[in-house]
């Protein structure tokens, strides 16, 4: 079947909320649609293409989290939102020497966006802790759990990882989730993080 070449903002938001393969497709669509715009912005400000791509990838993850946490209110188009986040990330990460006034001037006239710094993006410590925990599982277990967390359906996981049917995937997922819970139970820092997350 032909892949859709274009998505409306509403279709993108719906796919991100629902997750699964459709979410991967719209993320790829958003990346291809706008990466060059951010590259143009950053490379004309002494940044490299690689830095620009890294910033835009982070901006997309930020958008995904904002949508899933219900913090994207749709006051601006996705294009505008992503561009604003990319600019913010760029000024914060690679241009820390820029004075506050310059930063404000550079952003003057930007449209109002619902950029939300409160979106929960992992810090480095959390990243390393979560990576270590997941890294302790067998590769297949890790893959099943990640796809499940990314809201792939059991059918999609079976197709993606070559399992016989959905029930096999469901059993595998339950087994792997139990293993991960056991790892968390025996890991004090993981338990603390979980308490923070559950609140």
């Amino acid at each position: 079947m032909m892949k859709r070449l274009n998505y409306t903002d509403e279709a993108v938001i719906k796919a991100i909320r629902e997750g699964g393969k459709a979410c991967d497709e719209v993320m790829a669509f958003l990346y291809r649609r706008q990466v060059e715009q951010v590259v143009a912005f950053i490379t004309t400000r002494n940044g490299s293409r690689e830095e620009a791509k890294d910033v835009f990838q982070d901006a997309l993850v930020n958008l995904l989290v904002a949508i899933r946490e219900g913090k994207f209110e749709g006051k601006s188009s996705l294009n505008t939102y992503l561009y604003a986040i990319s600019k913010n990330l760029w000024y914060r990460r690679f241009n820390r020497s820029v004075k506050e006034d310059d930063y404000k001037n550079a952003n003057a006239g930007d449209e109002k966006t619902d950029f939300t710094p409160e979106v929960h993006i992992m810090d480095n410590d959390q990243r390393s802790l979560v990576s270590n925990l997941l890294g302790s599982l067998k590769a297949k277990c890790r893959e099943v759990l990640i796809l499940w967390a990314e809201k792939y359906s059991m059918k999609e996981i079976a197709e993606e990882l070559g399992y016989q049917n959905e029930q096999v995937v469901r059993n595998k997922k339950n087994h792997c989730l139990s293993e991960l819970k056991e790892l968390v139970r025996n890991h004090p820092e993981a338990r603390t993080l979980i308490e923070e997350l559950v609140g």
Binding site: A28, L60, E111, I121, K181
Partner: protein
């Protein structure tokens, strides 16, 4: 199904809000009275949230892979040709001559600089607003901006137009002339963001596509520029078709194939 799996699925159904009201009430009563179950629920919920955090890493890796795949595709277009060329003994000998020729070519390369081409083609669009004499609330701001625009005071016009857009975000007139000011001030990346939002606008759609071509060129991105040109050329009735054809010829001439050009 193992008892452990059954409990796990019961917890998931509860967290996903998939239980019937009766099942939910019964389950919540159990949680209140069974500390082990309550702890298991928290652990399950927390582990799921932890997995959700990990997806941030995974989604970023997917985007990076997408990028690498894109780069590889680009490279496969060029590398095999270059490899074949320089592995052949005859071409190795000719390499010396090529170096000399390349020196001469570098003198030509500047002609094929996208930014230079974009700048040469760019002329700020004429004022099509001032004559209207409308009396909408946005008029005083936009008319002030257009007076500055007509005096070529692009920095001042930009500021006024940004203020106008702040108050009237849907005002296509302001967005379009703001893009013109940004192009005139050599801020093509910013200009593309505004022009892209106007390509479906009844009044500014076609002209925005044309200026988007020039904006990408001024930003040094010939590939994006050609993509928009293709869109223009695919529309037989497009008002900028002739200009687009001429520019397309310029942008696809032999000179662009010189290594390092474009």
């Amino acid at each position: 199904m193992a008892k452990r799996d059954q409990l796990s699925e019961q917890i998931e159904a509860y967290l996903a809000g998939e239980m019937t009201p009766e099942e939910k009430t019964s389950f919540e009563t159990q949680i209140r009275t069974d500390e082990v179950l309550a702890a298991e629920l928290r652990l399950h919920q927390g582990t799921h949230k932890l997995l959700n955090l990990y997806t941030q890493i995974d989604y970023k890796e997917k985007l990076q892979r997408l990028d690498v795949e894109g780069d590889l595709k680009e490279k496969t277009k060029v590398v095999p040709f270059a490899t074949r060329l320089f592995r052949h003994p005859v071409f190795r000998a000719a390499a010396v001559i090529l170096v000399l020729v390349a020196c001469a070519w570098t003198l030509l390369i500047f002609q094929y600089d996208p930014e230079r081409v974009g700048t040469a083609q760019f002329e700020p669009y004429r004022d099509v607003i001032t004559y209207k004499g409308d009396t909408s609330p946005s008029d005083s701001l936009i008319l002030a901006a257009m007076a500055q625009y007509n005096r070529k005071e692009y920095a001042a016009a930009r500021e006024t137009l940004e203020k106008t857009l702040g108050q009237y975000p849907d005002l296509a007139d302001a967005r379009f002339y703001l893009a013109m000011c940004l192009l005139a001030q050599n801020e093509p990346a910013e200009a593309t963001a505004h022009l892209q939002q106007l390509t479906h606008n009844d009044k500014y759609g076609e002209v925005s596509e044309w200026y988007l071509v020039l904006a990408w060129l001024k930003a040094g991105n010939r590939r994006q520029s050609l993509e928009v040109l293709d869109t223009i050329l695919s529309n037989p009735g497009h008002g900028y078709r002739e200009k687009a054809e001429n520019l397309h010829q310029k942008l696809t001439g032999w000179g662009w194939r010189i290594p390092g050009v474009g």
